[in-house]
Amino acid sequence: MLTKTSARVFFFGGTLLFTLVFIGLTVHAHITLAERTNDAAIDDSVRRGLRVWGEYNCENCHTLLGEGAYYAPDLTQIVDQRGAGYLAAFLRDPSQFYSEEGDGRLMPTLGLDDEQITDVIAFLDWVGNIDTNGWPPRPILVSGSATATYPAVPGEPQASSPAERGRALFNGIGACASCHAVTSDIRLIGPGLGGVATRASERIADAAYRGNAKTAEEYLRESLLEPDAFLVPDGNFATPAGQSFMPKQLDERLSDEQIDDLVAYLLTLE
C-alpha cells in the first residue's frame, strides 16, 4: 500500500525530474531559435512593429500563429496573402474595404502613423516566415471561399491537367481566392475574375492599356508577376501612388510551373 512518504517522494522527485527535462528542452529551443525564426532578420522596424502589435492590443481581437482572440481573422500569413500595399491602405482606414452592415463587425481605425503601419507590417511579414511545423495546414482566409474546389494539400495526388492544378492552387495554398472571386460580379479585395480570359483579350486591344502583353496569356502572366504594369480601372485596387494591392514577388513564392498552371486555369475563366 502506498504510504504518505512514498507519495511525497513521488511528488517532489517527479517535479524535480520534469523541471530539469523542461529546462533542458528550453535550452535547446534557444539554440534552434535563430534558424527556425530567422532571428537575423529582426531589424529595428520589426522590433518596433512588435511593440505596435502590443500597444494597440491587436491580439485581443486577432490571432497570430493561432494565438490571441477569435473576434478577427488570423494574421499569420496575411502579408503573403494580401501584400504590404493593401495592408497599409487597409490600416489607414479599414472601413474603406468592408462594412459593419455587410459583415457584422468592423476593425476600428486605429490612427496609426505611416511609420507604425510600415513597422507592424514588417513585423507580420517576419512572423509569416517562422518555421511553424507546417501550421496552418491550409491557408486561413480572411474572406472569400475556396469551396468551389476542394483545395489541394501537400501530399495529395496532383491533378493531371495544368488548369486543374492551377485551380487547386488558386483555391488552396496560393490563397488567390482570399482576394478574388471567380465570378465577375463579386468584388472582394481584388477584381472578380469571372470572364477574365475574355476580358484579357479585350483589354490588350484597348487604347488605355499601358502594359507589354500581346496575348491574353501574356496579359494574365503580367498581372501575376508585375501587377503594377496595368491597373484595372474603376476599382479601389491600388494606392494613390499607383502601387497595386496585389502581392509582389509571386515568382518567389511559387515555382515557374505553378505560375504556368495558374495562367492555364485563368484562361479557362471565359
Binding site: K4, A7, R8, F10, F11, T15, F18, V21, F22, L25, A29, H30, T32, L33, T37, D39, R47, L50, G54, E55, E59, N60, C61, T63, L64, L65, G66, E67, G68, A69, Y70, Y71, D74, Y98, E100, E101, D103, G104, R105, L106, P108, V127, I130, D131, T132, N133, W135, P136, P137, R138, P139, I140, L141, V142, S143, G144, S145, A146, P151, A177
Partner: protein
Amino acid sequence: MSDSSRTIVYAYFSAALLLFGLQIVFGFLSLAKYLGPDPLLYIANFATTKAVHTNVLLVWVLTGFMGAAYYIVPEESRTEIHSPTLAYLQLGLWLAIGVATVGLYLFGVTEGRKLLEMPTPLKYGVVVVMLIFLYNLFMTLRKGERFTTTEGVLIGGLASAALLFIPALIHFDNYTLDRFYRWWVVHLWVEGVWELIMGGILAFLLIRISGADREVMEKWLYVIVGLTFLSGILGTGHHYYWIGVPAYWLWVGGFFSALEPLAFLFMAAFAYTLMRRSGLSHPNVMALHWTLGATVFSAIGAGILGFAHTWPGVNKWTHGTHITTMHGHMAFFGAYAMINLAIISYARPMLFGITDQAAQTRTSVWAFWLMVGGMFGMTMALAAAGIVQTYLERILGFGYLETQAKIQVHYLMWLATSLLFSLGVGAYLVDFLWMGSARSRARPAMAEAG
C-alpha cells in the same frame, strides 16, 4: 477564528465576488460585439472589453485564493492572521492596481500580451502585493501550532504562482520567445501551480465536509499534485506546437498534455469516493454542492475538453478557433471559479456567525443550478460554434468572415445560456453580500430577543 481574522476573510471574499460580477458585465459587452454591429467601437472595442473580461477573472480568482489562504492557514495552524494591517494593506493595494489596470485599458493603455496586458510598472506592484501576502502567511505559520500538508500545498501553489510571474516582467524582441515565456506564466499557472492551490483548498474542504482521515487525504493530495506536475510541466509543449520551436515538441507536448486530465479525474474520483463513504451528511449542503461540482466540472472542462483538442493531429485544425473558447470557459469556471465559490459557501456560516450550518437560502440553491446549467449550455453552444468554424474555415476553406456569418445562431445560443449563467452569478452575489450581511446585522437583535 477571531472577529478580526473573520472580517479580513469577509473583505477578500466580498471583493472577489464583486469583481466576478464585473467580469460578467464585460463578458456580455464582448459577446454582444460578436452579434454586431458595435455602437461602442470607438469607446470600448472588443479588444478592450475582452481584456477587461479576462483580466478581472484573474484578479477575482486570485483575490478569492488570497481570502481562502487567510481563512485556511489560521484554521489549519490553529492561530490568527499575523498582521491584519498588512492583510488590509495588501487588499487595498491589490484592488488599486486592479482598478488602475482596468482604467488604463479603457483609455487604450496596454502591453497587449494576452492575459498579461497590464503595463509593466503595475506588474511590479503585483510583485509587492505577493511579497506582502507571502510574508504575512509565513509569519502566521511561524506562530501557529502545527504545519499541515494541506496548507503546505496551498502555500506552495501561491508562492510558485508568484515566482512564475517573473517571466511576465521580461520583454523579448523575438515573438517566438515572447510566446515561449508567456506560457511559462499562463500555462504553468492554470495547468500547474494553480492546481496546487485548488488541490489544497479541495483537501481542506473534503477533510471538513466528509470527515475524511487527514493522513489518507494528504497522501492522495501528494499523488494528485504529483500527477499535475508530471503531466503539466512538459504539457506546456501543447502551446509550443506552432510557435517556431523544433517538431519534437509535437510529441513531447502531445504525450504529456494528454496525461493532464489524470490529476483532475483523480480529484473527482477521490471526492466522489469520500462522499460515498461519509454519505453526504454534512449540513452545509451548498458547500457540498460546490465542492463536488468543482471536481466534476474541472474534470470535464479542464480535463476532457482540453484532451479533446490537445493532440497535434487535431490541434492543427482547431488551433485558434472557438474550440479553445469552449474549453477555456468550462475549465476556468470548473476549476477556479467553482473552488472559490465552494470555499466561500463553506465559510459563509462562520463569516456571518450563523450557527445553524444547515440554514441555506433558496437563492443560494438557485445560484448553483443556474450557474452550472448556464455554463453547461454555454459550453455546448461554443462547442457547436467551434466545430462548425473548424470545419468550414479550416477544412473546407471558407473565409473567416463568411464562417462568422454562418455561426451567428450559435452566438445567440451562447447569449441565451450566458443569461442563465449571469442570473446565477447575480443570485450568488445577492445571497452573499446582501442576505448574508442582513443576517449578520440581525444577529445581535435576535440574541437580545432570545
